[in-house]
């Protein structure tokens, strides 16, 4: 298929369809409405089902049902809607069902606003709903990357029997970039012999997250933790940009990382050896990338469209080796290169060159 | 001749079956089962008419009916 110019939200829908997703359950919320709108038009063309649910709560539970029934299924929403979905997400994680959840983040808390933000990082990477669980979370920075990751996400979800979340800010959903759809590299996927498809010639399958005996539930939890450990060992992804000789490593993901990239170039023009570490997976967090940084690094600067959430993971990864600074805008305000540059200059000003 | 068979170990002793037997042949046994319930039992099986009322109201699928 030739390159097309696509809006982020449409590209999400098309990528999912190309990856074999045939079921979409959702509820309108700005700024991701083009996802359900696109799906309502495209899914019937490919023999799939689009259903606008009565609420985000119902939508995620329809996803639970469809995923349990063995289908490739997704939902998408934005921050307040994702909060409503947390109950269902916890059940999906607890029952180990594969699905894709898109969060096109807007400013919060509460109803917040409709401008882009990254303030759902904690919710996405630290569980979100009740219980000891984790989603597999990708944070793409371009529409092409979002498309590539979505096409892989369904395989990853099936492979780990775990929900995958794409965390995109409103800008990614709304902007337009050229994209092409390429099949991802194949994974060996186990058959879905656990799905509820009717028990012809076999014992009944049960999709369930209830466990009345504490010891059994603990055992289930440790097994989940093993799975997350496996993800941490095998699935971390990141991009390093001009870090080979960097003294200041800036850490940012999503749209913010693209702004920071231009800041890195500006700083380098001014003689400051800056680099960018861009997490692509935010769960599992790419701690391995930090180990690859050179000894020249003197400080870190985390830039986020939040009051400071990912910075905690950066501090854990740096583990006290260097100071970790933070620069962020929140509530839907996008940080400007000028303000980031200023903070970077202040940090490096005090350091000997 | 009609006959009912009670699975003593499944019985929870709720007595619903006793109340619906038209020939009044179901009684609560003085002996208890492993779960600790007094269980329903039939005396004078020859009076059973195989109506299955007892089985129909039994919440625990204790009763099998032969006819």
């Amino acid at each position: 298929m030739a390159k097309q110019l696509m809006k982020g939200n449409e590209a999400i829908g098309e990528a999912a369809i190309q990856a074999g997703c045939r079921y979409f359950f959702g509820y309108p919320i700005t700024p991701q409405n083009e996802v359900p709108e696109y799906m309502s038009r495209r899914l019937p063309e490919v023999g799939g089902v689009f259903l606008q649910a009565e609420s985000e709560v119902a939508a995620i539970n329809m996803v639970y049902g469809a995923a349990g029934a063995g289908a490739r299924v997704m939902t998408s929403s934005s921050s307040p809607g994702i909060s409503l979905k947390q109950e269902g997400i916890s059940y999906i994680a607890g029952s180990e069902l594969p699905c894709l959840i898109i969060n096109i983040i807007r400013g919060g808390p509460g109803l917040g606003g409709i401008q882009p933000a990254q303030s759902d990082y904690f919710q996405a990477t630290k569980g979100g709903g009740h219980g000891d669980y984790n989603l597999f979370v990708f944070a793409p920075a371009s529409i092409q990357e979002m498309v590539d990751l979505i096409m892989e996400s369904f395989d990853i979800a099936d492979y780990y029997r775990n929900p995958v979340m794409i965390l995109g800010d409103g800008t990614l959903g709304q902007m337009m970039e050229p994209v092409e759809f390429k099949a991802p590299k194949k994974r060996d996927l186990p058959p879905k012999d656990w799905a509820t498809t009717g028990c012809v010639g076999r014992e009944p399958n049960v999709i369930n997250s209830l466990s009345l005996v504490a010891e059994n539930l603990e055992r289930h939890n440790w097994r989940l933790q093993e799975k997350y450990k496996h993800m941490k060992e095998n699935e971390q992804r990141w991009e390093l940009y001009k870090t080979e000789d960097a003294e200041l490593v800036m850490v940012a993901y999503g749209t913010t990382a693209r702004i920071v990239k231009s800041v890195v170039n500006k700083l380098r023009e001014q003689g400051i050896k800056a680099g960018l570490l861009r997490p692509i997976t935010i769960f599992p967090y790419p701690v391995k990338a930090f180990a690859l940084l050179p000894e020249t690094v003197k400080a870190f600067l985390t830039v986020e469209m939040s009051a400071g959430q990912m910075v905690e993971d950066v501090r854990l990864a740096v583990n006290g080796k260097n100071p970790v600074h933070f620069c962020g805008r929140t509530g839907g305000v996008i940080p400007t290169p000028a303000e980031i540059t200023k903070v970077a200059m202040e940090i490096m000003g005090g350091e000997p060159r | 001749m009609p006959r009912v068979e009670f699975d003593r170990e499944r019985c929870k002793g709720c007595e619903l079956c006793v109340s619906v037997c038209p020939t009044k042949i179901i009684f609560m046994d003085e002996a208890i089962n492993k779960k600790g319930y007094k269980v329903a039992t039939v005396q004078e099986m020859d009076k059973c008419i195989g109506c299955a009322n007892c089985a129909r109201i039994c919440p625990d699928t204790v009763i099998k009916v032969y006819k």
């Binding site: 079921y23 539970n61 049902g65 029934a69 029952s95 498809t197 | 929870k12 299955a52 699928t61």
Partner: protein
């Protein structure tokens, strides 16, 4: 001599956790008998809800999914849309269906979702210990209405069968009871018909089954049957509220 009555194959041989005399067990069996008679056990997927019947997935001998509180109709929707040729049912109590899950049941019915809903109304929250339900009768004492439900404080019990029968998508709506043999036989017919409605692709079908909770009502099982008959039926009239033929 042959067996004329025994446990249906759509039930596992696992003993239920229900208290002695609780009529959930009867309703489980009626559902299972219907599935057996329609010969659809291997193509049926059940959805267990939250409430006393949460463990229904252990008792039905078929594929089951356990749903979050109130969400069973949404879960069933997801399953049915993936497997339109399968038989999908939910088994829900009054707290689950008429309180926390009101939106899901109303919209599944409004969509005419081709599922079968077994709604067990015993006017009380059994699982959590006898709190007031959306269907608790006025004056009924529960652990959260210790002086009896007062209408001026918490309104009136909800008649789900009547409410849902106003929706065009709900093609089969009935209320039955299991307090005596004739009513158990009628209940069985209604449940089987609700499955047939789905199998024929006619639309959404629900059977509200009046049921007892001897433990939380504080009554011996036999007295509970009598309480149901004398107190519940006058407020929750039995009958068919909607049959497939009526809907144009």
């Amino acid at each position: 001599m042959k067996v004329v009555f025994e446990r249906p194959t759509a039930l596992t041989d696992k003993q239920t956790h229900y208290c002695p005399g609780c009529t959930h067990g009867i309703i489980h069996r009626l559902v299972a008998e219907s599935i057996d008679e329609l010969e659809v056990r291997e193509k049926t997927i059940g959805v267990a809800s939250v409430g006393c019947s949460v463990l229904a997935y252990d008792y039905f001998n078929l594929d089951m999914q356990q749903a979050a509180h109130g969400r069973a109709p949404a879960v069933a929707t997801g399953i049915k849309r993936v497997h339109p040729d399968k038989v999908v049912f939910t088994y829900q109590g009054d707290g689950d269906l008429a309180s926390i899950g009101m939106a899901e049941i109303v919209h599944a019915a409004a969509r005419g979702e081709k599922i079968t809903v077994i709604f067990v109304n015993n006017t009380i929250y059994g699982m959590t210990g006898g709190q007031m339900a959306p269907t608790s009768l006025v004056g009924q004492k529960t652990t959260t209405s210790p002086l009896g439900r007062k209408a001026e404080h918490c309104g009136y019990p909800i008649r789900m069968a009547e409410l849902l029968s106003t929706l065009q998508g709900a093609v089969s709506v009935a209320r039955v009871s299991v307090h005596d043999i004739p009513n158990i036989i009628k209940a069985k017919k209604a449940i089987k018909k609700a499955f047939e409605t789905q199998i024929k692709g006619e639309g959404f079908a629900i059977v509200e089954v009046l049921s007892t909770c001897p433990t939380n009502w504080g009554l011996p099982p036999l007295d509970a049957l009598k309480w149901l008959k004398e107190n519940m039926i006058p407020y929750y009239p039995l009958g068919e509220y909607r049959t497939p033929g009526e809907v144009k």
